[in-house]
Every structure is written in structure tokens, then in C-alpha cells.
Symmetry: C2
Subunit: 218 residues, 2 copies
């Protein structure tokens, strides 16, 4: 994979990966761009353009080999390897993520959970003990933690982000409703639920006011 793939294509890969995984579960071995197009509600030409980025996966008259394409997309996304993750903030959202067993199928291993609430520390969620944040740095180093999910209030997030980054974390999955400033070699993926709800609200209101022709999923 030497070729640079556009950000737009990358952002669509997880969806392809999901559909290909479902096809595999259904025992489908190969699929044409037209069939995939019907399932995914994306044009066949978009699918061919996207998937041709990875070289000759599709063959005329044969279609795509589902398992091969699934495996290649996993490699491109980096989810063919193990990634060690911690969750900071063991409230409902943190626990929801810890319980989401699917993550591990994709190579994500939740190594630890942390909280500052003494009532939560010591509890075990899905085999993972909730720890205090005192030994956060040591834990990250000893467990080769690459990524940290921050499911904590926005007032605490910048300080905790600084601490995990200093200890070696390279990716922050940020659920706190604040923008984090991070060094050049660290990435932040934001999940700002209230912004998502506001977008939904705008689209519902637009639809009702007849202001927009926009529809369907975003």
C-alpha cells in the first residue's frame, strides 16, 4: 500500500468493512459492484472507484472476493493487529464501551478502566477492574497502551489527555465535549453526542419547515 488514499475514501471503509463482514456471515463468497450497490444504497460506480484504490480486487464478470476484500480493508485500517485501549471514566458511557464485545473482534483489547469516583474503584466490568487514576502513567507504559477513550466530563479531559499522552498514548477517542490540543504525533477522534443530536434536530426541523430536500442517513 504505497498509494495515498483520500480521506473521503478512508472514511467510507468502515462501512464497506461492515457490509463485507455481514456477507461473510451469510456465507457469500463473492459479490459484484452492482449487488453491493443495491445493498449499500451507493452507486456501483462509487463502489468501483472506492475499491479500485486498493488495486485489482474486482474482476470483470467475477466481482469482488468478499473475504479477500474484507481482509485487505482490515489491513488498511490497521485493525488486523492488536491495539491496547484503556477507558477513562467508568460511568454509563465508559461501561457501554467496555461491554461492547465487538471491539475485540477487531483487534481492540481493553486493558483497563479508570475513574476518580471511589465508589466505582475496585468494581469489575466485564472482567476489567476499575482503577484509580494515580497509577495511570505506569499502567499505560507497562501495558503498551496505544489508545485511550475519554468518557469523562469536559472539565477533566484536557488534564487527563495531557497525562496519557506524556505516558505514550497516540490516539485519543474523545467523548468529552471539549476540543483537545495535542502534539503533532497524536490523533484525536471526537464523538460529540450533543453536536450529533443538534444536527439531527436541525434536519428534523428543516424537513418540517420544508426548507430542505435533504433526507436519509448522514
Amino acid at each position: 500500500m504505497e498509494k495515498q488514499i483520500s480521506k473521503a475514501v478512508i472514511s467510507r471503509l468502515p462501512r464497506y468493512y461492515r457490509y463485507l463482514g455481514e456477507l461473510m456471515e451469510d456465507g457469500v463468497e463473492r459479490i459484484s459492484s452492482n449487488e453491493l450497490s443495491q445493498r449499500m444504497h451507493v452507486t456501483a460506480s462509487q463502489i468501483r472507484q472506492d475499491l479500485n484504490n486498493f488495486g485489482g480486487f474486482g474482476q470483470q464478470g467475477y466481482g469482488y472476493n468478499v473475504k479477500f476484500l474484507y481482509t485487505e480493508i482490515a489491513k488498511i485500517l490497521g485493525i488486523d493487529r492488536q491495539h491496547n485501549l484503556i477507558i477513562i471514566g467508568a460511568g454509563n458511557l465508559g461501561q457501554a464501551i467496555a461491554n461492547y464485545a465487538n471491539f475485540e473482534k477487531r483487534g481492540f483489547v481493553i486493558k483497563g478502566m479508570f475513574d476518580i469516583n471511589p465508589r466505582l474503584i475496585g468494581l469489575v466490568v466485564r472482567g476489567i477492574e476499575i482503577r484509580g487514576v494515580e497509577d495511570l502513567e505506569q499502567f499505560i507504559i507497562e501495558n503498551e497502551v496505544q489508545m485511550a477513550a475519554l468518557t469523562i466530563p469536559k472539565t477533566k479531559a484536557p488534564e487527563i489527555a495531557d497525562r496519557v499522552i506524556r505516558a505514550g498514548v497516540k490516539g485519543i477517542w474523545n467523548f468529552a465535549h471539549v476540543d483537545l490540543n495535542v502534539p503533532d504525533d497524536v490523533v484525536v477522534e471526537n464523538v460529540h453526542l450533543s453536536e450529533s443530536l443538534m444536527r439531527l434536530c436541525y434536519r428534523v426541523c428543516s424537513m418540517q419547515d420544508g426548507k430542505s430536500g435533504e433526507k436519509g442517513a448522514s
Copy 2:
């Protein structure tokens, strides 16, 4: 508001709204595009372009009136009005949303929570009783519910989405990892956490492989 605002601008409005809200909390009454630019790490010209969509909010030498702009953006997003919401799926994720008090400040009122798990039905989360799904349609009609958050497994989501839409729901906030097919007058806002985690993974891996110059938040 007759002018059509681009989807890109709309998608940035919740972030402006958050910064303006924080400025108000700090007692700031007006702000220049340059100051806002420094806070938000967005160019001042981008800010002017975005905010000029709404007509003369900014005045040369005076800057933006924070409260006025905050109020106008709320109107555009539709969050100046009350919206009735239900949560279907009372597990950790559903409870996390129910507990997120901020939502109500923006006009979202959680009218009810639903689950199929008999052990959850009857429990009360933040003053909201968890109900079975038998009387879902009636509840939606009686409470004028506009939006439904689906925090249920993907196998259940399409059927439940059909039911709430038939009862009058116009917006689905979909956390289930499946694409929903909805009528033209209904909108879906997806929050697919595992896709978000895969994007984070890709960006961390790219950074480490030195494949990408990309950085910062997305």
C-alpha cells in the same frame, strides 16, 4: 432565514454554539473573528464566511455580539424550541444519554425510556421510568414524541424504527450498527461507535507508519 445554508456550514454550527455558550458563561459580551479564530483554531476568514451566512452579525471594529449570535444559531438549529425524545434501549448507552443533563438545556426533553428486558422494566433512571415496548406507539402519540434514540442491538433496530416512524417519529438517532431505510420525511443521524474507533485506529497506524501528514482532531 430564507437563504439556503450549505451542509458544511450547518455541520460546523454546533461547535460555534458550544464556544459561544462558553464565552457567555465567562461573561464575554462580544468577540472579534480574530479572537474567536484563536480560541477555535479555525481561520478568521472561515469564521467570517460561516457567520456571514446569517446576515450582519459581525460589525467592523465591534465584533460579534456573543449572546445574539448564540441565540440566532439556536434558532437556526431548531434548539430554541422543545423537542420530545424517547430512548429505546435502557442499557448503559441509553442510560448514559438519559443522564446527560445538558441535552435538556438545549430544549430536548426525554419523555420516556423503553426496553424489552423484564429486569429493567419498571426501574427509574433520572426520574424516567423504563417501560416495555408494548405501548410504544400509544406513548409516542400521546406525548408528541418527535425523535427516538435507538440504543439497541442492530438485529432489533429496523423493526423498532418502523414502529416508531409509523407512530409519527420524524428523527431517529441511531446508535445501532445498521443502516436504516426510512421514508422521505424522516431523517436518521447515525452514531456508529465502532466505525469511529476504526477511523481512530487508521489514523494512529498511519501516523506510526509515517504514511500520513494528517494530525489533530477530526
